[in-house]
């Protein structure tokens, strides 16, 4: 469960002060599939970065499973991300030198899983996302949709408690987008907590809740789909 209280984020660039999040209060329950929506510049991605430990808020409190994540050191935050969280980025963000299976296996190797075992598990996950036989393909040998599916596989391989997806369909055609959303839906059905930023309403149909952001504030907090 994620609890966010009075969260603010302000960017300061010289004399230019830009408040992006202006006091966010939010609770996300275990097993929920949440969509964060809003116009460009509303602060959707910024909110996701704060609660996913990729960035630090200016003020406020964030607790993930009752752990105050703002008190963690940088090393602890990295380790927390490795063990508890999964990420799907808008532009897939696969490491270009690694093959599909290596991209998926690397979080496991970092956790100390032996290479062969990690590779085996990575292959199982890759098989489950309908990409059997693409183990040795490097990202530039895969289509956008395939890359995003590998990205999903990498995010879920270590069975994270929460999966964060930052506009996962933004760079995909409609077929690939549907495949990715179906994939997330399947994961959600198995109990995976998912927080997804999107600006496409049609891909929120499987979400439990949609949180609307406008000008750094939640305007519609608990709208049920």
């Amino acid at each position: 469960m994620i609890t966010v209280k009075n969260l603010t984020k302000t960017y300061i660039n010289g004399e230019i002060v830009t408040p992006v999040l202006k006091g966010i209060d939010l609770e996300i329950n275990t097993g929920e599939f949440i969509a964060i929506m809003g116009k460009s510049g509303a602060g959707k991605s910024t909110l996701l970065y704060q609660i996913s430990l990729l960035d630090k808020p200016t003020t406020g409190a964030i607790a993930v499973n009752e752990i105050d994540i703002l008190k963690l050191s940088e090393t602890e935050r990295t380790d927390f991300r490795l063990r508890k969280l999964g990420y799907i980025f808008q532009d897939y963000a696969l490491v270009p030198e690694l093959t599909a299976e290596e991209n998926v296996a690397i979080p496991l190797i970092m956790q100390g899983v032996p290479y062969e075992k990690a590779k085996e598990k990575a292959r199982t996950i890759i098989d489950s996302i309908d990409m059997k036989g693409k183990y040795s393909n490097r990202p530039n040998q895969l289509s956008g949709g395939q890359q995003q599916r590998v990205s999903v596989a990498r995010a879920i391989v270590q069975q994270p408690e929460i999966l964060f997806a930052d506009e996962p369909t933004a760079n995909l055609d409609s077929t690939s987008s549907k495949q990715v959303i179906e994939l997330l839906h399947e994961l959600h059905k198995k109990g995976q907590t998912i927080v997804m930023v999107t600006h496409e309403p049609e891909y929120t149909k499987y979400c439990d809740r949609i949180i609307y952001l406008e000008d750094g504030k939640i305007t519609n907090y608990d709208y049920k789909v």
Binding site: Y49, E74, P96
Partner: protein, 443 residues
């Protein structure tokens, strides 16, 4: 327990770092890799070859001194004595020691050599002459110990069963040494031609002696005529500035009954080191009668000073090479890390520790250093060292070789690896420590 978990953590870093590093090298540009490896090879060579050649210039001289003058152990007169007293006792001991491979006993005497005295145009003037050192030797013993015949550039080596012949050092002759600050070289010396040698003592010289000759005073045992049998040209100064004659000629001419020598050069077998052999000599009390020095100790001081200076220069040049190469590695790794900043951010984002990412870059640096050093070693020992042995540098007082002893070479290699590791680590750290989100979003 904490130490164990720390070790485990760093092992994991190294595992993931290697995993990433190897793949970055494998999929990186082959030309960039080759360029960096070439730089590392050249740096390593500059680190080893330049000091090696500088030291080799003097080392060649040391080796020649050992091989052709002093042997492995060099006995000379004590400072307050004119000869090695009890020379014959020392020889008797040497004859019983299985560690002795060979030795040469030398009798040194001041002398004057005259040349062209028969064909000179004006007999009212002195014949050309030079005051030099004469060495009386046993030719076969000398040959066995110092291979002196290697330096005969004209004529032949002396034989112990012959009499009346000498070898003349090339530096004394105008033909080989057209310019000299210290003396006027002899012009009329050829193999097969006579020279007149006056050994130190009460003999008259020059016009006085000519007058004495006219008066029938030939003073046998002091001055004698020799035929030049060979000319010696060596970069060991003592050889090419002296004359050599048979021991029995020396005794006959100088009427010497004393068997006390001035130098004994000894070669030992490979079963013993110089220092151990010196210990043995001291055990037998040689130091009571002679100054006992290993070949290294007998090196002239100016040469060891030159070597020290050259060593210092070589190290300075090598250090500059290291700085240049570490800056190169720093820039290359920095650019590499900077262009991959987004992926570094993503790796951090998905939980790959900073240490593991930094290790990947350190690993790349080590890879470049190891390969560069590997190629450097192949070039060094496969080509350069044999080349300089075959084609030594012609240096005034030695044949310069390339000295690349394994120990110091490996130390230099280790220093290069260490410096390269640091040069790879620093830029990686600079990039890796940047804010994760800024790296991902390339802000």
């Amino acid at each position: 327990m904490a130490a164990l978990s720390l070790i485990k953590k760093y092992l994991r870093f190294s595992k993931v770092g290697s995993f990433l590093g190897i793949r970055q090298i494998k999929h990186g540009s082959i030309w960039i890799n080759l360029l960096i490896i070439s730089i590392m090879t050249l740096t390593f060579l500059s680190l080893v070859v330049i000091p090696g050649i500088l030291i080799g210039l003097t080392e060649g001289s040391f080796e020649q001194n050992r091989e052709h003058l002093t042997g492995d152990l060099y006995l000379t007169t004590l400072s307050d004595k004119e000869s090695i007293i009890n020379t014959q006792d020392i020889i008797r001991v040497l004859d019983t020691l299985p560690e002795v491979q060979s030795y040469s006993v030398r009798y040194q005497i001041g002398s004057t050599v005259e040349a062209g005295y028969i064909k000179r145009d004006d007999f009212t003037k002195d014949a050309e002459n030079l005051s030099i050192s004469a060495y009386a030797i046993h030719p076969e013993q000398e040959e066995e110990t110092t291979n002196i015949s290697n330096f005969i550039v004209e004529g032949e080596m002396l034989k112990s069963n012959e009499s009346g012949y000498v070898l003349v050092g090339a530096t004394l002759l105008e033909k080989y040494s057209a310019f000299s600050d210290l003396f006027e070289p002899l012009k009329n010396v050829e193999v097969g031609e006579p020279v007149r040698i006056t050994l130190q003592g009460n003999a008259l010289q020059g016009l006085e002696r000519d007058q004495a000759f006219l008066e029938g005073d030939s003073r046998p045992g002091q001055t004698s005529e020799f035929i030049v049998k060979g000319i010696l040209d060596s970069k060991v100064g003592e050889l090419s500035t002296a004359i050599f004659m048979n021991e029995q000629d020396y005794r006959r001419i100088a009427r010497k009954t004393s068997l006390q020598a001035q130098q004994i050069a000894i070669k030992h077998t490979d079963t013993i080191t110089d220092e151990q052999f010196k210990e043995l000599a001291l055990f037998y009390g040689f130091d009571t009668y002679a100054k006992v020095q290993t070949a290294t100790e007998a090196i002239p001081k100016f040469l060891s000073d030159v070597q020290e200076t050259f060593g210092l220069l070589g190290n300075m040049i090598g250090a500059i090479g290291i700085v240049v190469s570490s800056i190169t590695i720093f820039i290359v790794i920095y650019i590499n890390a900077l262009t991959r900043r987004k992926f570094i951010g993503i790796l951090k984002g998905i939980g790959i520790s900073e240490g593991a990412i930094e290790f990947a870059y350190v690993m790349q640096s080590i890879f470049y250093a190891l390969l560069g050093i590997g190629f450097g070693l192949i070039i060094l020992y496969g080509f350069l060292v044999p080349f300089f042995i075959q084609n030594p540098i012609d240096f005034p007082f030695s044949d310069g070789i390339l000295v690349a002893k394994v120990g110091p070479t490996l130390i230099r290699a280790f220093i290069l690896i260490l410096v390269t590791m640091i040069a790879g680590f620093l830029p990686a750290r600079i990039i890796v420590r940047q804010n994760t989100l800024d790296s991902i979003l390339q802000r």
